[in-house]
């Protein structure tokens, strides 16, 4: 998560300077953006080796598609290879200990997991992008992959959207117009984001840490459970303010440079079930995993093994999708648990909705869903469940429960 450091100050300076360099549409704009992106990657590298490995990791999909992009059958192998390299570079603890892998690189690459999403999107979309006449040149590719605004914590970019937005209609040149209101809105959003990240979430984080550290001092189940719930409460609000604050900063800052970045949050804790939660929290991640994990897996299940068993195929696909998404969030067993609970929550919500519709019928179900008491209870239950599942992110909750 985001903390105040030299890197954060560097980033703050960068988002102040960048609009002066990028708000002007010219032939040089993409080169200037590339220079800024390379500067960020270089500043984030602790050694020459780290920089070289980052460049190789970033360039790999480009080179693969440049030479073998027309061979569709190779795509699954390319993606599998990229994922294997990612798992190694991200240092998944349980994979390393299971396979007794040697740890060659001691560093962690900045934004590694976000690189992965973009690289897979590029490989998967390459053919249709080429058919649609999109520029697939090296500079555009690098700007998409390295985009410093969204490198650390999203939102997750898609190649098509990035290029469309960066070039506009392709004929516009000169200063990208901005109204006074848009300018003030963007600045306001950046300031709000900084307050959320460095004031509100910092306070909530310290409270969450305080209650988590004190958990072992409580004797008696009820006292410990109560303390755990207080920790979970602060932790879930910390996650919301920290992550949505970061997104506010980058969406506002990119707006100042004339770039649009997708919204990533829409009042997630107002959701009435876990399915709706994932449509409101980290929206770009939900869309990505829907397109590249859920859809192909679901289509495959329906095509052969579970033909006509729609609900079962849906539940299995959702469970697997959110398990994978959970594991992507972090490299320890806690994140596997996080994924399992998200998958479980989604499956229960899907089953409940489908069965309830059958039991109640269309009209009664509609009345049920619009009942204010039901909505309030559903929101509280969903939020409580999310609160508890979020405890697995960032804290060694598994060790706490197992006593190891």
């Amino acid at each position: 998560m985001i903390e105040l450091s030299t890197k954060s100050l560097f980033f703050a300076c960068l988002i102040i300077v960048a609009p002066f360099l990028l708000r002007y549409r010219s032939r040089l704009r993409k080169t200037v953006f590339l220079a800024l992106n390379v500067l960020v990657i270089t500043a984030a590298s602790h050694s020459l080796l780290q920089w070289v490995i980052t460049v190789i990791w970033v360039m790999l999909p480009y080179l693969l598609m440049h030479f073998w992009g027309s061979r569709e059958k190779l795509k699954p192998f390319m993606i599998a290879g990229i994922v294997v390299i990612y798992v190694y570079l991200a240092k998944y603890g349980f994979v390393f200990s299971l396979l007794h892998l040697p740890e060659i690189f001691l560093f962690k690459i900045l934004g590694l997991s976000y690189f992965l999403f973009r690289e897979i999107d590029y490989i998967m979309q390459y053919k249709s992008l080429k058919e649609e006449g999109y520029s697939l040149g090296c500079i555009d590719y690098l700007n998409y992959i390295l985009d410093f605004y969204t490198l650390m914590a999203g939102p997750i970019l898609r190649y098509r959207e990035f290029v469309d937005d960066f070039y506009g209609s392709g004929e516009e040149t000169g200063f990208i117009p901005i109204t006074k209101k848009e300018l003030l809105d963007d600045i306001n959003r950046v300031i709000n984001g900084y307050v959320k990240v460095y004031v509100i979430s910092a306070i909530l984080d310290s409270w969450a840490k305080y209650w988590f550290d004190g958990l072992k001092d409580h004797d008696g189940f009820l006292k410990a459970a109560g303390a755990f719930c207080i920790f979970a409460f602060f932790n879930c609000w910390y996650i919301y303010f920290n992550f949505s604050g970061y997104c506010d900063i980058v969406i506002g800052a990119a707006g100042l440079s004339g770039m649009k970045i997708h919204e990533n949050f829409n009042r997630p804790y107002m959701s009435v079930n876990v399915v709706e939660f994932w449509n409101r929290h980290h929206i770009t991640l939900s869309e990505w995993i829907r397109d590249y994990i859920f859809t192909p897996f679901y289509k495959w299940l329906l095509s052969v093994p579970l033909k006509k068993k729609i609900l079962l195929a849906q539940c299995i696909s959702l469970f697997v999708t959110f398990l994978v998404a959970g594991i992507w969030h972090g490299t320890t067993m806690d994140y596997v648990m996080y994924g399992l609970f998200q998958g479980l929550g989604i499956v229960v919500a899907t089953l409940w909705k489908t069965k309830r519709k059958k039991w109640l019928g269309k009209e009664k179900n509609k009345k049920y869903e619009n009942n204010p008491v039901v909505i309030t209870v559903a929101r509280i239950v969903t939020w409580g469940y999310i609160c508890l599942t979020f405890t697995f992110t960032g804290y060694p909750v598994m060790s706490l429960f197992t006593g190891r």
Binding site: Q125, R290, D291, T295, K299, Q314, K362
Partner: protein, 79 residues
């Protein structure tokens, strides 16, 4: 049966609602329960009905039913 009529049957089946009536101008906002999850279910059902395949990019850029029908017709002609 026209593409629109066949598509309407698929919609009624997927959304479990015999009263659904679609037109070229219908969008996801007009049909209750058409969220991102149901969208995927719908796409798979349409693929089965018309014996065609869509790519992710094709189905993510559709604006309304009119666009969807054009895409389906193009796919059928290209078979």
């Amino acid at each position: 049966m026209s593409t629109l009529e066949r598509l309407q049957e698929v919609f009624r089946d997927v959304f479990d609602d015999e009263d659904i009536v679609i037109s070229n101008e219908t969008t996801a906002d007009d049909i209750e329960g058409w969220d991102s999850l149901t969208h995927v279910v719908l796409i798979v059902a349409v693929q089965d009905e018309f014996d065609i395949k869509f790519s992710i990019a094709e189905t993510n850029t559709l604006k309304n039913i009119g666009d969807f029908i054009k895409l389906i017709d193009n796919k059928i002609q290209g078979k």
